[in-house]
Every structure is written in C-alpha cells, then in structure tokens.
C-alpha cells in the first residue's frame, strides 16, 4: 500500500476566552491510497480539528506544530496560495451540515458551475454539463430539476449528495467526510454511506471518515483511529479493533454502546471527558482508566506498533511486543 497522507506529531493549541486549550497533543496517523480510514472519538477529542489542520482551515487563534505530509510536501509549510491548489482539488471535504456550505441565495446550478468553471477553466455550458454528470454520479434523480433548485428546496440527504458531487468534481485523491451523516436520518445515512463507498470504488480516492458512531465505522471503514482528548490512542484494522480492542478507552467505548441486535448490559465509562484547558498529565485517559498504573500519571505513552495492523498508546503494552 502506498502512503497518501501522513500526520506526524501534530500539536495544536487554541487561545480562548478561558485560557490556552491544548487541543491536539502529538497526533500521528497515516492514510494509504484507496482506503477508508475512520477517525472516531467523542466531542472534543480533536477529530474534527485534525481534519481542519490538514486543510489549514484553522481560526486565527490556533497554534500548530508538527508535520502533515501529502504528496511529499509538508502542508503546514505551504503558503495560502499553494494550499488553494490542494484544497478542493486534491483534498475535498464534506461537512456535517451541507446547508452551511451552500449559499442559500443562489441556485445549485450557479453554485456548482461557478466552482467547476473556476477550477477547470472551462466555459459555462461545459461546466453545467459536468455538473449534471456529477449529480447523476451521486444518484440524484432528475439532475435538471436539482440544478434549478435553491438549497432550501432540497432535503438534507439531497443537499449532502450535492456536496459530495461538488467534492468529486476534481477527482480528489482524498475525501474528508466530517460527520457527513450525523444530521440525517438512519435510512438516509445508509444511502449516503453506501454512495460514498460506491464512488470510492469508481473514482479511487481515499476517505477520511470522521464520526462518533462506532456502528458507522464498523460498516464503512477499513482502518480506524481512536482519539481521546487530543491523542491518538489506538489505530487498527476495523475487524481487529472490534474483536481485540487493546486500549482501555477503546474497550470502554465498545462496552458502552448499545447493540440493535440484542439487549446487552451497558458498561459506561466512568467520569467525563477532561477539559482541554487543563488536561490530565501523563496519559490523558488515566483518571477514567480501570487499569491505571503509577507511570500513567507522569508519562505520556507513545503510539507503538503492536503488530503490523495494530498500534496502541498505552503503558499496559509496554512497547513493541517483540521486545
């Protein structure tokens, strides 16, 4: 497998009203070509800001350090002008709320053809033709009617399809989907997720799927990264993660979610997600961890390779299992 994007030791702080927030604390991850990588975690774990850092769409009160290597270049060092060539072209993004990325005052036709025209340098007619093809590709019935509609005339699912069509218009090599189905009903969620997988086979891009829903991860992803309070705590192939979760946090998450197939007792994690203004020292999970050892309070465990397909950041596993 060829590496497509690699994040190395990404740190991110926000200056806020309440003080400095330590949002990302050394995140590492690699996305390979032609795979669906799921990034899971709870509110404030840093999964969304990780994707925002990739596109350098961070607010002005952010301080970033580390490396994000894409096609041999460190994105964090690129100028805004160079980023524009990557954003939307090589890396596209689909957000949770498509309404916020569409201008309510213009028809879909205008919004789509503008973007396509701008980037491909083609005439308006050609752009419209391309737009229609894209809408067909995302299984929207009656593309002509869609093009003549305003965003509010479309349902949430249709708007999300339009956003996916737009994201596809440049054959991106990476599609970042940030909670793309959270605002949608389950039946529509299923349609959109299946569509993304279908398009991925067709257009050969990788997907970075950001979600809080482990069910969605199980059904769509090839590999998964679990984040907690700004740290990557575990990365594994999806089946391995669900079958043999190693990090106590991952184990806790899996035993806390209900299963639609049968009623199983839920074992909630103790306590709450820590404040990033004053995160716990050492391993950030230690105050909630059932297996806490003295070392966890002082030393942050690094993400180590447990096997070729399984990485975990926890002192329980000491380091490389071969050692």
């Amino acid at each position: 497998m060829k590496e497509l994007l690699s994040i190395q030791d990404l740190h991110l702080n926000f200056r806020t009203f309440w003080g400095m927030a330590y949002v990302l604390d050394g995140v590492n991850l690699t996305i390979y070509e032609d795979e669906v990588f799921g990034l899971v975690g709870e509110t404030g774990c840093g999964k969304s800001v990780t994707s925002m850092s990739i596109l350098k769409l961070l607010p002005s009160n952010a301080e970033v350090s580390g490396k994000i290597i894409f096609e041999g270049k460190n994105l964090l060092e690129l100028s805004e002008k160079e980023m524009k060539k990557i954003r939307g072209r090589k890396i596209s993004m689909v957000f949770q709320d498509p309404m916020s990325s569409l201008n309510p005052l213009f028809k879909i036709k205008a919004q789509m053809s503008d973007v396509i025209k701008l980037h491909h340098n083609i005439s308006k007619e050609e752009a419209l033709k391309k737009a229609k093809e894209l809408l067909k590709a995302v299984n929207l019935p009656d593309p002509d009617r869609i093009l003549e509609s305003y965003p509010h005339q479309l349902s949430g699912g249709m708007r999300q399809r339009v956003m996916i069509a737009l994201a596809l218009s440049f054959n991106p090599s990476l599609l970042i989907a940030d909670e793309p189905t959270t605002a949608l009903d389950v039946t529509i969620q299923k349609q959109i997720l299946d569509l993304i997988l279908e398009l991925k086979e067709q257009y050969h891009f990788s997907v970075l799927l950001i979600t809080h829903d482990l069910g969605v991860v199980a059904e769509t992803c090839d590999r998964v990264g679990v984040m907690y309070a700004g740290n990557m705590v575990e990365i594994a192939d999806v089946e391995e993660l669900f079958e043999n979760p190693m990090h106590p946090y991952t184990q806790g998450l899996l035993s806390a979610i209900p299963d639609p197939r049968y009623k199983k007792p839920l074992k909630p994690l103790r306590g709450n997600v820590p404040s990033l203004l004053d995160p716990p020292k050492g391993c950030r999970f230690h105050p909630r961890c059932d297996f806490m050892m003295p070392v966890c309070k002082n030393k942050k465990p690094p993400l180590v390779e447990y096997s070729k397909t399984h990485y975990v950041a926890c002192h329980l596993y000491g380091g490389n299992k071969n050692e």
Binding site: E42, D185, V216, P260
Partner: protein, 323 residues
Amino acid sequence: MSELVKVENLKKYFPFKEGIFSRKVRYLKAVDGVTFSMEKGETLALVGETGSGKTTTGRTMLRLYEPTDGKIYFEGKDITKIPLRKFKKTRVQMQMIYQDPYSSLNPRMSIFNIIAEPLRELKYGNLEEKVLSLLESVGLRKEHMYKYPDEISGGQQQRVAIARALGVNPKFLVLDEPTSALDVSVQAQILNLLENLQKEKGFTYLFISHDLSVVRYISQRVAIMYLGKIMEIGSVEQIFESPQHPYTKLLLQSVPIPDPKDKKKRKKLILPGEIPSPLNPPSGCPFHTRCPYAKEICKEKEPEYVEVERGHLVKCHFAEVIK
C-alpha cells in the same frame, strides 16, 4: 399492572399559510390519529425519522401543545378536558426531559437554584438537604451544587435536568431524545441512570428517539411512527425480531451495527427515497411512495391496524402476506 396513560386518536394540526399574501390556511398534520396506552412502570419508545411527529406526540401529551382532537387519559382522567388554570396539579406529575440539556437549564442560575426552584413552589422545608439528596440520587455530589450549567459537562447537565424533574415527584416522564446530544460513553451512564430510577420509583417513560440501538436497550414496547401515524407497535422483541411492516423492516436494515463481521452476513437492502413532506402527505398508506411492496390499493386506501400477535399491531394491507 395498571394503565397510567392512554392516548386515543390524538391529532395535532398546525395551521400555516400557503404564502405571505395567501388567505388560504392549510394544516400540517404533525400527529394524525395516534392511539396507544402505557402501563405503569413501562417504557414505550416512540421511534421515527425527522418529521414523523414523534416529538409533537410527546409534547401534545403534556399539553405543551393543545391537541387538535383526541383524548389523553392520565390515571383514568381525560386531561384534555381540564381547563389550563386547573391543570397545574396534574401537569407537575408529567415531566419532560429535553434533547439538549444545556438549553433546558437557565445558564444564569446555579445548579442549586435550578433544582430548588420547583421545590420552593411546593414549599419544601429544608431546601439544602432536599437538593443534595436529589443530586445524589442522579449521581452528582455536593461540589456540583453551586456550579453553573456551563461549568459542568453535557452528561452532568442532563443529570441536573433529571434531578429537577425528580423533585416534583412525577409519575410520567416524556424523554425527548435525552441522550442524542451526548457522547456515547456518557449516553450509557444516562441510560443506566434512567433505568435505575425507573426500577426505584416506578416511573413510566415515553422514550422518543431515532436511535434504534438505544431503543432496543431501554424500552419494553416500541411504536414506529411515520408521517404522524403509528405504523407498527409491539413489544421490543416483536418489533426487533419479527418486524411485520415493510417500513420497520427497512428501517431496521439501515441501522449500523457495531460489528464489522456482521456487514458481510447481511444482505444489502436500502430504503429508497426520503420521507415525504408532512405538508403534502401521500394518499392512502403514507408509506406507499417508498414501499417496495406497494400495490394499487396502498395508494387509494389507508390500511387498518391488524393484530398479528397479541399486542402487536401493524398498519399495512399486506401485514400477513409479506414475510
């Protein structure tokens, strides 16, 4: 067991005008003839997609909306007949827990004042003691008493909202997606808390949700709503293990399952299309536009309920035919 709440042919129509200048008033039939009853101490889940009318049903049952038609019995009395002025006493026994805990707590009041407010109305003696015991019964501590809502986590906010409701000794609680704004690890805490409180105090819950995994966990009976009508109602086993209505079947198929091995076993069945606008509901069976088994009769005639098993009602012309 005895019956606590019963709803008969409940309807809630919202009037709206076609356009700014139009005189014609039309009605949005948010709830259109809903009938069910609830035993003391049981949890009935009301499940549906956006626009199915599940929340409106819950709110109308508490007369937060005045019903357009139909009867609501609480302890045998039809509460729609009680004038609003005299309704206070009954209303206190029927409480609601909201989806977004933060918006259900006044951000300018301390936790103590939030919980004490209804107690002051009831002229409680030792407020401090009572508030503390309420906090403890939802798993909070004294140190939380003088904090403000934005200083505690979402899960703790929901606990405070529950404690406040407990203070007035309700019998019936409408839980409107009480965990959907919370993280999965916290969701399990709240679900367990709700279950324990029910066991302790014999509460009756109407659990409104779109999340079938949660419904599977918390409820004894389930009602599936679609466009203001109940399509299928039965025990949780009946609905999840032998769903009869095509909508229920497809809805269950769409639920993501947190087990990657499961996806290979399952056949791919996607519920096509989207829920039609309740402003313009389809004729006959409301589901016929998306139903793979729809026949001519479904477009023309609204199906009656068929009791396929004891307590298992299905609103479908072909309930007994489709297997």
